[in-house]
Subunit: 767 residues, 2 copies
């Protein structure tokens, strides 16, 4: 595997080299509000832990494990981790938190720690028996140590092209194994470097029974390790009983060595081999038989600590850093990893874990050289590599100055606040942050909120989500062989193309509703102004609405009070015809407007929108009340949040003035002061859930309207005079059907509960 | 029923008064190219004459009858008549024509005239027996007389409001009957006026056995009636044996009078009562029992002649004129129609029919007064009535000057050319005109051609078509309870909304095709320029296409030859990213592009587009050849015709110059000279049908691609290296799927046959 760098450069494979597939795993202990290990069951909301692909438990019932699906980019993998972490946090028991350190919280005695309970299936029993075995062998306390695993495979195009052009003398099987083994050897040699840069635990609580004596400093209830980078990666951390010798020179030797350890009883199986780098195969629980048959498919790095400084447990840049170290490990000239190399690597790892802050000069130099060379390589491979160079340079800075290390910052705070207090306050703050923005899908805030909500519900159900086009809010959702394409959360296969097009057109929708005896506002549709003008005598003694056919957001609409003049009528028609060639004239219907959102043909939520307003407390002025109301984390700007910030601009001031008030007026307790005429959410209007408050006769009518146009998903806008009276054609009318109704308004209303419309869409789609 | 005008004005019902429902019936004899009555069967292409709602036969097998569906406007009814007339003309036997006069062509002896053959069902036998009866009673020659029937009902809203506000003292049943009887009485009194204005036959051929002696002038083979308006409406025309007295004073009297005539054996049924005005009911073959039960639902005017001056048999304005005369008949003070009134009306009718060109002064004055009053009325009822007034004023002119009458113009030409020659040459010219524009749906030329074709196919199948939004090409098609909404001919319920959206997005389509192992051009998709730039080394040695994701018509696309510079690459990316946030880079695939249009999951047509070109004959110059090619009636401007006019502008001249030619160059016989690089139809490109010429392996692949995205209707664009070689992933690739493929390109290609894609869409929809 010589000259691999030259081969890549000569064949212009730099672009493919940078691609790959990423998967992350992360464990966290659940703790109570005092920092004690939670002894409750895995939260039901999170689904079945034995079958859920993303959310399960590790060793203990209280040890939640998040597994991201394979992602084609680091950003996607990271975003997935963030969001699964959010979902878990939102769904754990009320008074519980995710412990943000790799080393455990306050833990009970051995017998009280619950091993994960998977049920009674053969598979479950096998899992639980294995856990009993390792609990016995390593102790339950040690098995509570948590971390992050980083799985990576090279782009298959890259491997195939490189094989074809430069290494066709060997089989693709041998070539691929050789690539991953080269990377693994170099990574094993440089495990100290990763531990130095990413290590983030420097203490344990005294309830942890395996506290090392070496380098230890006791302080209150804590054991602190002053110069450490990672207690977890140290000789006292999560390791096998001995440093087994396993060769990475060839797959044959690797398999033979491991089989020997297993047959001699040192290990129960390959999964008990706690190497910081594992070579893996995706089939059959990663058995040695499978890896021998198909060859190596990816590598797993297991030495990464939970980083309490990041809400997610790891920073995005560190995922890039690990990737770069993997690439450098491929591109370095082929190196050995013999018994002596192994001993040296472990020794370096031990030194860095416990005393990394006093990094030996030879390691510092080796590290800086490693990254400098990487910088040079990138110049040869890529046109644009600023992003990568920034990350490399930051790593070099950390090598030169250990005060920049995460472990140093954690040490200082643990020393100051105590191990439990420090981590517990982070855990609580993390949960608070996550709950306050639970409506959003992190990293995808440019998606419409409705799509964000749908994706979160899909992840919670364990479905496979792919964002096909972020700007178009276009995603696919898969389970097994079933795949659904969804745009803007409610444009789905549940509706036919023609049904959507019917709803897009107000005039056609009205025709169809009328033909199905659904009450719509009386009126007429005109395609030329002359004919429309001739209806003057017909309408002049009524209050009417003139509106263009296809425009939205109230553009081009005129409302005329009864007795309007021909001149007013003409002007209204002119305005409407400017916006569309087809114009509707409708009798104005007095009442309140309600949105009935239909999913799968059934009413899934009912909402009323009221104009921007404040309610007095007898003390605060209008402007103070507005300020208070805007503190609601659900309010933001530009549709990124469920509600919009209320403005107190010239329009609102004018509106108040017309009603004899100023912004300094102090409303009486309970007095509602409206700030605008229109009720749009976009101008600070409130959404108020009425799902359980409206007589069922209205729901039936809304569902009938949906059925009339053949819609499974639609937003029915209905004018209602009194929600407590039974519906009739006289006291209600349907003014619009919306083919792409927003679902977020029903999930995060100003008042009322989350109606989980995302979940309802998924259920309607058959998931 | 007094003061009805005041009631309408007081209640602002002028707008509703003008509305209504219209239906037209028209008969024509089929004739051969010499003007002989055709003795062939009803054309098979026109469907089953006993069940087709629009196209059937009347008395004779050679007497085609067109029935328009009920229409909500005169324009719609007229357009329907025009198009059904086109459809009939296009589908009659090759050497046959529609005889354009009410009076017959050259007809054989009585025994040779074929009575319509409806088959052997009980209903068919009943129809045929009735025809035998009237053949016997009136003679087959007389039953060959053709005409136009005008059916009209008032807007139901109008009737209900008027009843409610002013006439609620009587039942709605009585009120409605009273309205229609008032109109009928006045129309019967003014039948002479309609005959005067619309009469259009003044001669018969000598083979017609019932030629009147009165006013007759023999000339060669013709009997000519110099001052006549309408021979058909004369005492020798299509009349009952006697002028039966039937009262129109009340429905009761009307029914009693008719029942008496029937029971006394004068008439076989109500349908044998050949009154110029009939009151009708839509149920049960218009029986007297049904009309007694439900009341009068509409009126039928039967005195309108086929007008040879109009290709359709009647002019659009004349439909408006009849409507205005109906309205005037409603608004006139309530009048009687007693025995004396009836005698007088028939006398006036007889005078006008035979000698209308010498119109008695009292009638002229009565007519002018009638219309002047109508003009006054309209001012009170409508804001804008220019359209109506023009028509009224033209009628007044005709009353004042009989030389403006249709009958006068027909007389002059028949006198000059002979009865048969004159009408036969019109018949031939009509057919020629209709065939040369058979791709279009008349009156709806603003619709896309694909929609026009679809509607024509639907009418031919006897389906009910409604144009819901002309600007959006949105229609509905009904049969019985089944209704389908269709936009732009191929946006239907056959595809789900999400399937259409997948196809709308090139990048997503490509992903889906790839996942289904369909060959697409290799390449990558980028959502930011930085990442795209990094692929430079990957692509630089290949010929590539850079294209924005969602734009069409080649906008933002760059093609780079292999070995392109980073600068060229950057410029290409800039251009693409200006048009869309997502950009595709693909390897260029060498081959010819074919469009496979899939309908109902199956290939319905295959087309290749070639750039604008001419083929030499060794004599004409390029510019002369272009001129010749543009004479093809399929070529037009602005997508209104199947092909576009070829231009010879600066671009084409430049293109020729680059190849060493000018527009004066005379290509050799068979030499093809291309005028442009691009093959778009919009720049004069030719569409060439390949449906039967391409190896089936390509069709299978196109159908697989459609299936992959779940599409029933789509246009698959495939690059193919050699259509005679079996398909492989190396010799072909799919570059695009189109969610709204045009169907007209397969129906009226430059070369090749009409693949009837409109019919295929309808069949796929289950019609």
């Amino acid at each position: 595997m010589k000259y691999i760098l030259d081969a890549i450069i000569e064949n212009n494979l730099g672009f493919e080299l940078l691609q790959g597939t990423w998967g992350l795993e992360k464990e966290n202990l659940r703790v109570d509000d005092k920092g004690n290990l939670a002894l409750t069951s895995h939260p039901e909301n999170l689904g079945d832990k034995i079958s859920h692909p993303y959310i399960t438990t590790d060793f203990s019932e209280s040890q939640i494990e998040i597994i991201t699906p394979p992602s084609k980019s680091i950003d996607d993998a990271y975003n997935m981790l963030v969001n699964l972490n959010d979902i878990v946090t939102e769904n754990i028991h009320d008074n519980e938190f995710l412990w943000p350190s790799s080393m455990p919280s306050i833990i009970p005695t051995h017998d009280k720690i619950p091993i994960a309970n998977y049920g009674t299936s053969p598979k479950a029993i096998e899992k639980m028996e294995y856990r009993e075995y390792i609990a016995e062998k390593y102790g339950k306390h040690k098995q509570l140590i948590c971390g992050i695993h980083y799985n990576f495979s090279f782009n298959s195009d890259f491997l195939e092209k490189l094989h074809k052009t430069c290494y066709s003398e060997m089989s693709f099987y041998d070539f691929k194994n050789s690539i991953y083994l080269t990377v693994s050897r170099n990574l094993l040699k440089h495990q100290w470097l990763l531990t130095y840069l990413l290590g983030a635990n420097v203490a344990t609580h005294s309830s942890y029974k395996h506290c090392c004596d070496k380098h230890r400093e006791d302080r209150n209830e804590d054991c602190i390790f002053k110069d450490a980078c990672s207690y977890r990666n140290s000789i006292c951390g999560y390791r096998n009983k001995e440093d087994f010798r396993v060769s990475f020179d060839s797959l044959r030797e690797y398999i033979d060595d491991l089989n020997k350890l297993i047959s001699e009883g040192f290990l129960k199986g390959v999964k008990e081999y706690y190497s910081p780098v594992r070579i893996k195969n995706s089939k059959d629980d990663n058995s040695l038989t499978a890896i021998e048959h198909d060859g190596i498919e990816y590598i797993e790095l297991r030495m990464i600590d939970l980083n309490p400084l990041s809400q997610t447990g790891i920073f995005r840049e560190d995922l890039y850093l690990v990737h770069l170290i993997i690439l450098a490990s491929l591109l370095k000239p082929c190196s050995s990893y013999n018994q002596q190399d192994q001993a040296e690597a472990i020794e370096n790892q031990n030194i860095v874990s416990f005393t990394g802050h006093k990094l030996p000069e030879n390691l510092r130099e080796e590290g800086v050289t490693f990254f400098n060379k990487l910088n040079e390589l990138l110049d040869k491979l890529l046109v644009n590599n600023d992003k990568y160079k920034q990350i490399i340079n930051a790593a070099i800075e950390k090598l030169k100055n250990s005060s920049r290390l995460y472990s140093q910052r954690v040490y200082q705070d643990v020393y100051k606040d105590g191990y439990i207090n420090y981590h517990l306050s982070i855990a609580k703050q993390n949960k608070k942050n996550i709950l306050s923005s639970s409506f959003s899908l992190k990293g995808y805030e440019d998606l419409e909120l409705s799509t964000q909500i749908l994706i979160k519900e899909a992840l919670l159900l364990g479905l496979k989500v792919e964002i096909l086009d972020i700007k178009e809010n276009f995603i696919s959702i898969k389970k097994g062989d079933k795949i659904e394409y969804i745009k803007q959360a409610t444009k789905t296969s549940l509706d036919s193309y023609s049904t959507a097009l019917v709803m897009e057109n107000k005039a056609i929708t009205k025709k169809v509703l009328l033909e199905n005896s659904i009450s719509v506002p009386p009126g007429d549709i005109f395609t030329n102004k002359q004919d429309a003008l001739n209806s003057y005598f017909r309408f002049k003694d009524k209050k009417i609405v003139i509106k263009p056919n296809n425009t939205n957001f109230g553009i081009g609409i005129t409302i005329l009070d009864s007795g309007f003049s021909l001149d007013e009528f003409t002007k209204g028609l002119d305005l409407a015809f400017e916006n569309d060639g087809t114009v509707l004239i409708e009798l104005f219907f007095k009442g309140d407007e309600y949105r009935f959102t239909i999913i799968g043909g059934k009413v899934a939520g009912i909402l009323r929108r009221v104009p921007a307003n404040v309610i007095g407390d007898g003390k605060l002025s209008i402007s103070q009340l507005v300020e208070n109301k805007n503190r609601n984390p659900l309010r933001g700007k530009g549709y990124k949040k469920p509600l919009e910030i209320i403005k107190l601009g010239p329009e609102e001031i004018f509106y108040l003035k017309m009603r004899g008030k100023t912004e300094d007026y102090i409303p009486k307790e309970g007095e509602t002061v409206y700030l605008r005429e229109n009720s749009n959410i976009s101008t600070g209007g409130d959404s108020i859930d009425f799902t359980d408050l409206i007589d069922s006769s209205y729901k039936i009518e809304a569902e009938r309207a949906a059925k009339a146009v053949g819609a499974n998903i639609t937003g029915v806008d209905m004018m209602i005079q009194d929600i407590n009276t039974k519906r009739s054609d006289e006291n209600s009318t349907i003014i619009e059907l919306n083919f792409n109704p927003a679902i977020h308004i029903h999930c995060y209303p100003f008042k009322g509960e989350n109606r989980r419309l995302g979940l309802k869409v998924l259920k309607a789609l058959g998931f």
